[in-house]
């Protein structure tokens, strides 16, 4: 646990005292590390769930899992990966890095920060307790009513899902409030809002989305809970006037911004890693910043593109189609800005940059299939098929998780004082890239060939699906090796890794101005900030950034 501690402290202190310190801490760095550790544990659990599902689908009519088990697994896999893995990884890394990047001592509300973390952890454990309490929820991660109503899901598994996510959701909202206050109020002298690192700016917008989009989800969950236990009929279509589609509207009003709550911080990490490893300033800081704001706003108005097959009115279908196309524009702008940053640079292909390149390449594919799915008629054909599964894994895994890996390799030296082993990192990258594409590439094809998602089995009379499913399952093995290398790398590097020094990547943002790991108080003296790259100004006094920045 105590990876941020100086070595001597670990040896000299008894375990209970160390544990006590971590459990009671309000330090943003320790909390960030705890978020990351917890998320990694859930990543392994969610990965095992996925592997079991792929095993079941390796060939037709396989009988390894019962239908109910399979349905529980995909529900928990989706829920886990979104709420208990990717979001806490992003929040955890932001927790660690944002105060350092803006030269603050800690988050604005350290106790609220700790409270948020523990709510997340308890919410996650609570949801998982359902496995012990008689079975996990089997309702899918978007829990469409009326399947979630008492009439169709009689046991308490659905209640565990509702309450677990409600608890961890309140924690997330606390995190959002905290990030807004921290970023708006605790910046170092001279760091105007137009001079914050792009990661910080993007976290600010993410926090805005959290604050706006999570409470509606909480409200919807409470309505569902009332339906199940107090006999109300919001979504219980067995009584006249109730509406199954209203749940979908409420859920996706949260669920689509949620996609950007996950994607935006990933964009932020990429916007930090690519400039440093291309040795160039980000191309078009202002347009990346504006594109972020654009995505933030547009993402609140596209939710019903998840509902293109439910039979909305024609004008609504057309509106949501158009709005969804629109969101491709700011996303494209970012893509071009990252490429232009690389253009003319001196690109250093270390592991963080490899993962960033992997992100660009995979996210491009996920983004382009997203354009296909923005077309309502095309969605009618391929939604709820494996094509959609492929699409959102190219976004969430090939995109977001690759970016998280880039960020993790990039900031790990700051968090621990050790650099992750480079050759293991390269192996990790290539295994993950190959395994990922082997798993999810074929799903595009099985979807187009008519295979629906969320089926625990498929039949002998669909031989054309077999080969693609077999490939997908084999890809899981390669991915498992990749993650084994990754965790082995963390272990090896923590034990025997080379010391990082304060600034191993010769980077430009404030977190690299303090020691690795930073002291509890973060900075002895905060350098005065005059530009977006304060350390560049220090390293190149003859050619400082602030001469070229207009805002």
């Amino acid at each position: 646990m105590a990876i941020a501690e100086p070595e001597s402290a670990i040896v000299s202190r008894p375990l209970p005292s160390i544990l006590h310190e971590w459990v009671t801490t309000v330090d943003h760095k320790k909390l960030g590390i705890m978020y990351i550790i917890a998320a990694f544990i859930f990543l392994v659990i969610g990965g095992i769930e996925a592997a079991l599902m792929r095993w079941q689908l390796i060939r037709p009519a396989e009988e390894i899992l019962s239908p109910d088990t399979f349905n529980q697994l995909f529900t928990m896999h989706g829920t886990t990966m979104i709420f208990f893995v990717v979001m806490p990884l992003l929040i955890g890394m932001a927790n660690y890095v944002v105060p350092l990047m803006i030269g603050a001592r800690d988050m604005a509300f350290p106790r609220l920060n700790a409270f948020s973390f523990w709510l997340y952890l308890f919410g996650a454990i609570f949801t998982y307790y359902s496995f012990i309490a008689g079975g996990a929820p089997s309702i899918g991660w978007f829990a469409y009513a009326p399947l979630t109503e008492k009439a169709f899901s009689r046991d308490s598994s659905t209640d565990y899902w509702i309450l677990g996510l409600l608890i961890s959701g309140i924690g997330t909202v606390g995190g959002g409030v905290n990030f807004i206050a921290t970023i708006l109020c605790l910046r170092a002298p001279g760091m105007k809002l137009s001079k914050v690192p792009l990661f910080v700016w993007i976290i600010l917008w993410t926090a805005f989305l959290i604050v706006v989009a999570f409470p509606p989800f909480t409200a919807a969950q409470i309505m569902l809970l009332f339906d199940r236990h107090l006999g109300s009929h919001f979504f219980d279509t067995q009584s006249p006037g109730a509406s199954a589609l209203f749940w979908q509207h409420l859920f996706w009003f949260f669920g689509h911004p949620e996609v950007y709550i996950l994607a935006l911080p990933a964009f932020g990490m990429i916007s930090e890693v690519i400039p440093v490893f291309s040795r160039k300033v980000i191309f078009g800081y202002e347009s990346v910043a504006m594109a972020t704001a654009g995505i933030g706003f547009i993402s609140l108005g596209v939710w019903a593109h998840h509902m293109f097959s439910v039979g909305m009115s024609r004008p609504l279908d057309i509106y949501f189609s158009g709005a969804t196309f629109l969101i491709a524009v700011p996303t494209g702008i970012k893509m071009f800005n990252w490429l232009a940053t690389m253009y003319g640079g001196k690109i250093i292909l270390k592991t963080p940059m490899l993962f960033a390149l992997g992100f660009l390449s995979m996210f491009l594919i996920g983004g382009l299939t997203g354009i296909m799915l923005a077309a309502q008629p095309v969605t009618e054909a391929v939604t709820d098929s494996y094509f959609v599964v492929a699409h959102f894994h190219y976004v969430a895994f090939g995109g977001i998780l690759f970016a998280i890996m880039a960020g993790f390799y990039y900031w790990f030296p700051k968090m621990t004082g050790k650099i992750l082993n480079e050759s293991l990192g390269v192996w990790n990258f290539w295994f993950l890239l190959v395994g990922f594409n082997l798993t999810f590439g074929p799903m595009h094809i099985s979807g187009i060939l008519g295979m629906p998602r969320r089926v625990y089995t498929y039949h002998m009379f669909r031989p054309e699906w077999e080969i693609w499913n077999l490939l997908s399952t084999l890809g899981v093995l390669v991915q498992a090796i990749a993650f084994a290398i990754f965790f082995w790398n963390i272990y090896v590097s923590l034990r025997w890794g080379e010391p990082a020094g304060d600034d191993p990547w010769d980077a430009w943002t404030l977190e690299w101005a303090t020691t690795s790991p930073p002291p509890v108080y973060n900075f002895e003296t905060v350098p005065e900030v005059k530009s977006r790259r304060p350390l560049w100004d220090l390293k190149h006094p003859d050619d400082p950034d602030w001469k070229f920045e207009h805002f």
Partner: protein, 184 residues
């Protein structure tokens, strides 16, 4: 970069308001989002109920409702006055207005209890009865739903007052939020 308020880390903040206030405003945004969702639900389901009773059937006499609304809105004014007095150091004035606020809040709760007693025991109207019903109760559980004017007023008075001194009122969720934020 006009007002340079110093924060706990000793850094100059670039906003003229403290991080406590920014946190509180953000928190209120979450509350607004929460209640907007409930209001949207109300609008969505309005008129969908095929069985009675309808609002007109049970709200024949709305005097209790009006009175408790007036009490509730007044409490926003008194808490604002209490806050002002607190800032000026007029302790006794603060205590007077503060207790007045609490009294108004209690009176409102009593009014609500009377109203709900009537709905539940005289009209036999509970959350499970019909649409109009459960939406009303549902929203009423967190705020007095039909009177959304209160929200705006409430938020105004919240912004103007320091977080820690504002008494948590009938709004349970708000109360929890206060405790959490005050704790930090």
């Amino acid at each position: 970069m006009s007002a340079e308020a110093t924060t706990h880390a000793g850094h100059a903040s670039s906003l003229p308001i403290s991080h406590e206030k920014v946190g509180m405003i953000s928190f209120l945004v979450t509350e607004a989002a929460f209640f907007t969702t409930l209001i949207m639900s109300y609008l969505y389901y309005i008129g969908k109920s095929k069985t009675g009773p309808q609002p007109a059937d049970v709200f024949e006499d709305i005097s209790v409702t009006i009175i408790s609304t007036v009490l509730l809105l007044s409490s926003s004014i008194t808490v604002h006055l209490a806050d002002g007095a607190f800032k000026k150091g007029k302790h006794s004035v603060f205590v007077r207005f503060w207790f007045l606020t609490i009294a108004l809040g209690v009176a409102f709760l009593v009014g609500t209890a009377i109203e709900w007693h009537g709905l539940i025991f005289e009209h036999d109207l509970t959350i499970a009865t019909n649409f109009f019903r459960h939406d009303l109760f549902h929203s009423g559980r967190f705020s007095r739903f039909p009177r959304d004017a209160r929200r705006a007023d409430d938020e105004y008075s919240l912004l103007s007052g320091p977080v820690a001194t504002r008494p948590a009122r009938q709004d349970g969720k708000c109360g929890v939020g206060f405790v959490v934020l005050a704790f930090c």
